[in-house]
Symmetry: C2
Subunit: 288 residues, 2 copies
């Protein structure tokens, strides 16, 4: 048995996960705004103790919403939580005594999808998670690709429209500035992306058309860089489901480059919010 | 001893290459415009016979300016030469009797740079070749990365400015539409890129500033996708040398994303035009 923790910018989700990667128990709690690093570590430790009560666990995996150095197992940078260079593995182990493995949250999600979700049977896959930001993860030859320096890749900040919109990273024209929920909210002044999609045939037709066009450009760029067999869409916006897949296939087809074979398939992530917990547990299991 | 052939859109360069990957003899000839596939194969066979006269060779490597399916060893698509789905390995072997290995030309160049050029000592590298178009190749963990379907990657056609210039691929806003010699010629109406660079402090200051800005965006995107330790610039435009490296480092620094460590180094390719011949020979040597 393992504990998988999906640490978000505003929530902590954790679960007890068995050898088959089924979640046998889970819990979600809000992070109190303005919490310090120490406070969050303390809350995580308390919740781990509670969920494992009376149960033997092998270790704990944590998905981090930021840049993780896979080799040193440190969090390099985590914008949402205001963390820089924190050693959460060590700090949590000091309290709990358990071995811990940390990984980027999108990498956890794709790893879970590759083991028991939409990516089963595929060896080369790109995941885009569409939410407040645009997360990404890449599977190459069956393994999560961590980039040359083992700090992960960031396709959400690829420039797709250099002379365009400002991005949260301080730069301009990133995919995230067009394909995140935040981008749709900016474009329409609605309070959430769902409201915008609800009127995609009405007053927000243009905004949604533009959204798909840019997301397709991001997919094109990912395909040119990795030539995967599959592209998965996850995150809150992926609740648009099949309708979204049909639109995206169409838009990608319009702009794909000729390589003499079929373009990558496009699918919605299968595991939803559980992917983070399952993937974090699996990351611990398979790296220890 | 091997023969390495660097097939271009307008020239064929070939050389005899020894076990140390030194070129012991080489030749370059123009391709007569409008030559058919069969005519080019015939010329290549004739030149191979000539250059190897009296010398035992192990095999022949060819760098192809287009999309190669590494597994089937067929040329999928070669825009400059008007080729689609040709089996040049088989056709040339039928004439010469030698074993042949084909690979993309940028992959050959980067392979050569990694063995005895600018990339020695680096395991994760991106090469951009800046000429009529923008070629690219990626080394991951010491091996040429061929993408999930083994047909190579194409960073020159990543979209960097979606609402921008038309590209030769029929699409818009690709890196190639900004960072190729063709782009500089389009912008300035000069007949070659060198003339434009010669006046980079004068009437073409703005065009060159824009050129570097966009090339830096392409480098940013490559870094986000692969996190390499090194980016190499090759192709005709790389003759700008150190001056170019200084400008590019500067521009990339302005727009780099924070990963808590040093950005990739930037260097000019060391082997110049010989990279194609050496790399093609090395590709044969190391894949047979």
């Amino acid at each position: 048995m393992y504990i998988g923790i999906d640490l978000g910018g505003t929530n902590i989700a954790l679960g007890l996960v068995d050898e088959k990667l089924d979640i046998v128990k889970k819990k979600k709690l809000a992070i109190i705004q303005g919490s310090s690093y120490e406070e969050i570590v303390h809350v995580m430790a308390k919740e781990c103790k509670e969920i494992r009560e009376g149960i033997e666990i092998s270790g704990i995996g944590i998905g981090i919403p930021g840049i993780v150095d896979s080799d040193s197992q440190k969090v390099i940078f985590c914008d949402n939580l205001g963390w820089t260079n924190v050693d959460i593995s060590k700090d949590l182990k000091n309290i709990l005594g358990d071995d811990i493995y940390i990984a980027n949250d999108a990498d956890c999600a794709l790893y879970a999808e590759s083991l028991k979700g939409s990516a089963v049977g595929f060896k080369n896959v790109i995941l885009f998670t569409l939410g407040t930001g645009v997360g990404s993860s890449v599977l190459l030859n069956g393994k999560i690709f961590l980039g040359g320096d083992k700090r992960g890749i960031e396709l959400g900040h690829m420039t797709v429209n250099y002379e365009g919109e400002n991005c949260s990273c301080g730069y301009r024209g990133c995919l995230e500035a067009y394909a995140s929920a935040t981008a749709l909210i900016r474009e329409t002044s609605e309070s959430d992306a769902k409201t915008v999609f609800d009127q995609e045939d009405g007053k927000y037709k243009e905004a949604i058309d533009r959204y798909y066009k840019y997301l397709a450009v991001g997919i094109r760029n990912g395909i040119l860089a990795y030539r995967p067999g599959l592209v998965i869409i996850g995150g809150g916006i992926s609740k648009q489901g099949d309708k979204m897949v049909v639109r995206l296939r169409d838009e990608v087809k319009k702009i794909e480059m000729y390589f003499g074979n079929e373009t990558a398939e496009i699918k919605i992530a299968a595991l939803g919010n559980d992917a983070g917990i399952i993937g974090a547990a699996a990351m611990y299991r398979d790296n220890n």
